[in-house]
Symmetry: C2
Subunit: 333 residues, 2 copies
Amino acid sequence: MELTPSRSVTLEQVARAAGVSPATASRVVTGVGPSSATARRRVEEAVAALGYVPHPVARSLARGLGHRLVVAVVGVQRSVLADPYVARVTAAAAEVADAHGLGAGLRWVPVGGAHGRVALEDLGRDRSVSAVVVVNHTQQLLESLPSALAGRTTAIGTGTGDVPGFDVDSPSGVEGLLRHLHSDGRREIVLATGPSWVAAARRPLQAHRAFMHQVGLPVRTVAGNFTAERGRAAVQRALDRWPDTDAVIALSDVAAFGVLAALAESGIAVPDDVAVAGFDDVPMAALAGPGLTTATHPVEAIAASAAECALEGAVAPTPLRIFPSEVVVRHSA
Amino acid sequence: MELTPSRSVTLEQVARAAGVSPATASRVVTGVGPSSATARRRVEEAVAALGYVPHPVARSLARGLGHRLVVAVVGVQRSVLADPYVARVTAAAAEVADAHGLGAGLRWVPVGGAHGRVALEDLGRDRSVSAVVVVNHTQQLLESLPSALAGRTTAIGTGTGDVPGFDVDSPSGVEGLLRHLHSDGRREIVLATGPSWVAAARRPLQAHRAFMHQVGLPVRTVAGNFTAERGRAAVQRALDRWPDTDAVIALSDVAAFGVLAALAESGIAVPDDVAVAGFDDVPMAALAGPGLTTATHPVEAIAASAAECALEGAVAPTPLRIFPSEVVVRHSA
DNA sequence: GTGAAAGCGCTAACAA
DNA sequence: TTGTTAGCGCTTTCAC
């Protein structure tokens, strides 16, 4: 039978019950600073007996460490905040924050040097902010990170010396997809890229280039972003430039759906005429039409790790932590 | 030219600059308690000049109000937290929380009387929690809300006397879909329901029943939930029981995709043989295959309002605030 | 209408 | 190793 802990027990009551000073009780509870074995035992007993739980607000105030993790999303418009991917990242961060007794805030950082820097500087000055996770950043923005944010900021995507990065292994995912297409006999493969300003969008591009060189095929890319609209546009441009295109890889499933829609409208058969592959393996990929071939992207795991690391103190032993991406073959390729 | 507000400005500095006491400055800033017009003016000027922003942590500690909003998601398994819908709700809440200088936590509440109540009681006792938004609740759970949470809890879906509810107008959305199907000549219409234990899933069911009675058609429903798997299963069951089925409405787009996939596998033509409609108008609805007919569901707007209201003090003038749902006709029906 | 003073619960110098 | 003493920044009685 558990007794319901009354969270209104204060450290002072614990100290009194243990026969020590509040300072000693604090040292024992936080595990910081010296304490004798006896003191430790007695305080721990008192904590258990009274059901003491530290008050996060008071702790934050005293330590001046803030009380929330902010997910800072770089984007052209404020509406990036409504993106499903951003939502998944935020939810994962909120779950981690909750476990730490904190909360997660979601905030837009306008793209473009000055504005973005100002937004990050605001974050650095905000005493209620414990840690920051940056999403969709440019390399430049990260490199000019306000010093106030150093040590408590992580990034999803590539990192820097100061800012640990957490990313999916998109090069290997893309290479897996290319290998699959290639072994299927596809030779005229077009890659619809991500937004060029996003730092993390460059790595899969390089992987594409490397693979194509290796197998001696032409490197064909069209500019995209992570939206379906652009996916549509991209495939049209691709077919205009290279009418013999027999495969398209989009760097997001959403864009791939745009590609599929455009192809369907043009009466082009998938995968017979043109194979299509996405990236992310969103839940819908398995459901939409005959099934989208894609590569997995463990968004929640990545975001949770980034949040955890930012909260724990983002000292970067490795500048980039990579999460594996697996090819999922369905019908479209 | 805006000056960058230094968030390290304290109320005391404002008071000094305004030539008043911290107490007076506090009264002006919070708008609580008496203050003279002059005092008000001078404090406001100082606030503007110094770029003062209240420190939420200190405020929370002094008021004992907590520093985060918790999104409490009721579900059978912890994995509900990874649901895309939950992610959208959480992101919207995090955005609102951020604007209030707070953060949002995400937490699972197990379904089933005792466990769920215990989880809510924990929330009520946690002094770091300012407000709660409950998602996917049962009516029962809401009715047994711990008194400590009253006045700072809102629900997405139906509410109670104590807990303001925020929901999409699913009855009208469903009726719109039914009207569309009916005018299209569909007569053997099956509704795949939401999870029976979710309170909000009942309202569209009633709307369905009412409409079918009104037009003199049989009321046919099969049990579903909001997943694609169940959508698949549901349509199979429906066709077994009523082979003449000529339309299926699923109460979520995701389930509708399951329905579409199952029909495609059975070689049943959509919309010629069977029309399919979903609910939510997720971004993918426009993209997947030939386009899913559905009704809109302003998830972010609903969640943001619920969060705002919980934070502002959830006194319920109306027990339920309704957001409109519009039919979007695409290809599947 | 205003100011002085006492907290909110905890942490961190500094002495002892 | 321990206790004492100040705060962290804000709110809120309670006299004036």
